[in-house]
Chain length 381, copies 4
């Protein structure tokens, strides 16, 4: 284990903050790291909240103004886990302050911001990364290996779903994820962005899209700050509850995508299937250790999807975590990602997915939004 | 068991002819029918082939010219299982000859023909039906019952896949299903039409569509009639290998559809999921007895998809076939459908799906074709 | 299709009678048979019931006394689907009358009767068969092929379950299946006998057993013939509700078996897994077209159970029924079995499973009963 | 988060040591603990190995003699993760030294040692616990809750499997797990002990057993310490490769158990099903977040196993880890267990499973061993 360290400052501390914090703590246990992360400081506007969170999650200090945090000399890298509309401003300021930056997805609320972020990253020469953690599931990494080795041959189809159901209750109050100004979009940026990243990682770049974005419940109760139980006013939902789109990849494959928060019974159904000329694969986040693999060249009569639990020594991270058949959970996807971030800082090479990937992703998201308005196919720039 | 009969003449005798023939034979064993089908005659151009088929499948006589068949006085109803481009001519002639008509799907190769068929049906006053057999899986019938009773509430999503893989080999020769003139389209009319029927049956009519149709392998070997082993020429594939489209239902639900013959490992993957405000259902033809049902009002902590094998006395056909947990197979979907056809003839009421449904279906298929060309949303008339 | 026929007389006509009748009707449609079965006559004590059943199921005539049936000159083979305690008397009489005999399982209610039945069969020189239909699921036949070819290597484990739940209601009335005199045993003879047959078919003969038989509900309402709604008396259940036993096969493998009617939610859960030195297989009647296959020599990293739908041309019956991915149901297991019976008659060679298999099966059943009493291991003779 | 601490000394540091160490590190992140564990010291005979392990896993110091460790004043509790034959000596010494003790399973290599351990625990008045971690899977805890609330009613069946395949290669060398002196037994103590604990936890105490223990490969290569590649000698395997047994619970339920290292394709298949008069449940370690639940009182026609992902706020630990549908992995079972250990120390109340549970477990294990020799049913004392 190296003695060298990288001092992290994290901005935001809710659900994603918890997932990132856990990863920083857990990483040195499993991996030999070139740089050991030091949980230096977090920031949040609510002084009490951020203080408690720092203690609970193991951060050495805290700030109630993120601007102070990024100016601190004792911090090398900034991790942004705020609502989406703050990403651009914080990331650019952090890069300008000479910090490496890890940013939650989606990169921003529009393409313009994403471009400015990438430009700032290039100008700074610092390491930049976007947090599409599902790439780092061992099964997805193994899928990538199979595809890279040509085991699926030419790809014909990508078919992705991200189905959730936490917003189906019409009495569920309006929060930042349902306001365009703060989130950019609804299920689209939150869920479809993950699928787009997986599709780009595994299949390649997307040339054009057509699709639709739907809002099933157009108004929701506004939480009354004084008396949250008393709903007196309704607020407009100006983001999508669901998006569905079809894409053409640059390599000729076609893709279908659907993201929704209105698919009852699907708590966190992030799934894809890829069909190639020599084989197919399937993955489902709710069974994240498993990759289903079909190989066309299997002996006739013995052809079928194989149920492969990616915990063997031949699989990515197979010797790092536990043992064959000993499953890992959701949180490990962040370990894989942040390890790449640390490796990138150590070697001064930008890891993937970078802000460039984030921009590409945002361009696909925005092309779908445009298509939803123009009602026709839209090129991804 | 009634003494009354309906005498059937079937035109065509390949795979679908086998499935229909089996159903005619099997129906009286399971059901008390108002009219017992008599397998009177089949027709086919190849005299030897049709003779052998008649003997093998139990038809009393055969013809090598379908025009003769529909003129025979000893035939009450015509069952059409030919390639698609013949449906219109045969159906119209049969209706004009005063026969009831059951026609395989898709109803025709274009909307114009479908309209002529429906007009002829209306003019004739005879019973007309299109063979979308999957409606008659007990699990799908049970799904319909749940939806009709409001158990799913308002429907938000229909998500359908029909994935096959039998055409992935580029050396697979050109046959009628790959020629537009004979089949109208490829995976689209063959597979998507089934999904459209299920979606219309369960969710309702479709208002508009956007989508694409792709041909992955543009040329295939032409079988040499003299020496089929020697491939000397290639022929153009002018139909789609895959189609993907998004729809808006008239009731506000959105739907996604994908039909392909290039999804390796999916031999016959006809699947759908429907999400409503009170619950969700899933069905998969490869496990056709099972309906997965999620009910939002289930006790908290005990919510999850239930795996229901639809073989109980509470399920459609539950007391007709075997016993709880004793699965039925593919062939039974035809029994359910043809029983409706016979009931329709007995009661002079047109059963569903009728030619009107076939026309609606064709209109959706054609709207997708138009969208694939115009690259924008297209209304379904 | 051959012109030669074999004329069948069936004794009994309830659930199993329906399954057998359907198979006789359905066989000529799918198979080229050396002998075509003619549904000549059925018998049953209830004149009205047997008359209706004959008409409904397509039998040409009926008798109310099985003794008359077996004496008829126009009958070549007897099919016994009565309660278990009648098997021996009927089978022996039928063999003595020069008929071929197909008998439902279990062969008898005790080993002594089974021995007399086998002796009568040998003496008669006629074809004899026991109806263990699950052997003839395409997936089970394919499993047999894999094992015969050595694809699993030396077998270590057989693990069988037959779980049902139809008898869990304590108010469910006493019927013949719960009376030792008529059924011999409960879940044991009814369900475990099927597993024993599958185990013997796939793994080999059983050397010794240890086990237990349990009755969870010791008394049940006696149906009042006059007023079935009024339960005035309770009757003793003198058979098992469940049996569980461990076996050693002659080849050194060990086996575990559990049969029960008290496994809620398992309507018809007949499942097994076999582990050998080179691979493993799994089968489940509730998904009867599928064989899960694990091959130890698969490439490292790509090892996992393959989900194989046994409907390909490489699979048993693959070209007989429908097409890849088009599942068959429960009823087809009887077609495969009765076809063997007909082949046996045509070739004068006794097919398997024969009465000799039925006797071996009965010996295992009885050894478990003895073990349940003696509370120690018992050799299978 | 409390300021109070409990200082841990761990003896052994291989696979289980890694799992325990991770839990100590991870616990304070997720839980508000009454006592915070301090990773004070580990011991191991290999000075280099233990030094590296201490650094890697985060232990403050290390010893090469466990006797020194348990005498250290700066240690409050001892965690034993050594091979089985050392458990008794270490645990007793630690208890005598006034330490709380957490011991890996099985408690010992025989009942006699287990009794001495329990006696020492009682005499010491210290907290004692055995590490059956699978009890602490959220889904298993939820199963316990359902059973405790009577949701399954009277229990009829427990059916447990623990299937692995890591020892199937005959060239796999002899190690301590295959030597009776060091491990007590093979698959039996290693795997069956886990099932016995789950069965006792969920169903209740076991009255009597009958079973068998098998060794499929009787001799294995002895690793040559000098040149491990050169196998010159074979050593006898004197433990079981597999055990299978049937039990009667004191409450009248029956249970079947099978543990094996020879079930190809089952990397870590720890599964059970429980059937009661009102419902059934199923669990599988390879899908550890899911509990399948069948409720007999569900509406007719809608009955089926529900697939419940136990990550909701209504589930045990539901608010502690991530969010609905965000799965946890194997390692979390240790968090739940060690948290109980810490709670026990904080409250001076012995948590379950205690050494008393370990002794009961050992008594069942030994009764099976005796039955395997005597070939008859054996009472559990």
């Amino acid at each position: 284990m190296g003695d060298k360290q990288v001092r992290i400052g994290m901005i935001g501390y809710k659900f994603m903050g918890k997932a990132h914090s856990h990863a920083y703590r857990d990483l040195p246990f499993f991996f030999d790291l070139p740089l050991v992360p030091v949980m230096q400081a977090i920031s949040g506007r609510d002084e009490d909240g951020v203080h408690t969170a720092a203690q609970k999650m193991g951060w050495a200090s805290h700030e109630s103004d993120w601007r102070k945090l990024i100016q601190r000399d004792d911090i090398d890298a900034i991790d942004i886990v705020t609502p989406n509309h703050l990403h651009a401003e914080i990331a650019i300021a952090a890069l300008e302050a000479g910090k490496h930056v890890l940013c939650e997805k989606p990169l921003s609320v529009n393409v313009e911001d994403a471009k400015r972020m990438l430009a700032a990253a290039h100008k700074s020469g610092k390491v930049h990364m976007i947090c599409h953690n599902y790439r780092f599931s061992p099964a997805v990494q193994f899928a990538k290996k199979l595809i890279r080795e040509g085991r699926l041959g030419r790809i014909y189809h990508f078919r992705g779903l991200y189905l959730q159901d936490w917003l189906m209750d019409p009495d569920s109050p309006l929060e930042w994820r349902m306001r365009k100004e703060q989130s950019g979009s609804g299920a689209h940026g939150d869920l479809a962005s993950h699928m787009i990243d997986l599709a780009r990682f595994l299949v390649g770049d997307i040339a054009e899209v057509v699709g639709t974005m739907e809002t099933f419940i157009g108004a929701r109760p506004l939480p009354d700050q004084e008396a949250p139980e008393e709903i007196t006013e309704m607020g407009e939902v100006d983001v999508d509850d669901a998006s569905a789109f079809i894409v053409k990849f640059k390599n000729g494959a076609i893709g279908t995508f659907e993201a929704t928060r209105f698919a009852g019974g699907n708590r966190n159904g992030n799934r894809f299937e890829i069909n190639g000329e020599r084989g197919s694969i399937r993955w489902d986040l709710e069974s994240l250790n498993v990759l289903e693999v079909y190989l066309k060249d299997d002996e006739a009569g013995l052809q079928g999807f194989r149920n492969i639990t990616c915990t063997e020594s031949e699989h990515p991270y197979g010797n790092v975590y536990w043992a064959p058949g000993h499953n890992i959970g959701y949180e490990h996807t962040f370990l894989g990602l942040i390890r790449e971030f640390l490796n990138g800082i150590a070697t001064s090479r930008c890891p993937q997915p970078s802000f460039a990937d984030g921009l590409q992703n945002q361009m696909v998201l925005e092309a779908v939004e445009k298509s939803s308005q123009s009602r026709q196919w839209v090129s991804v720039e």
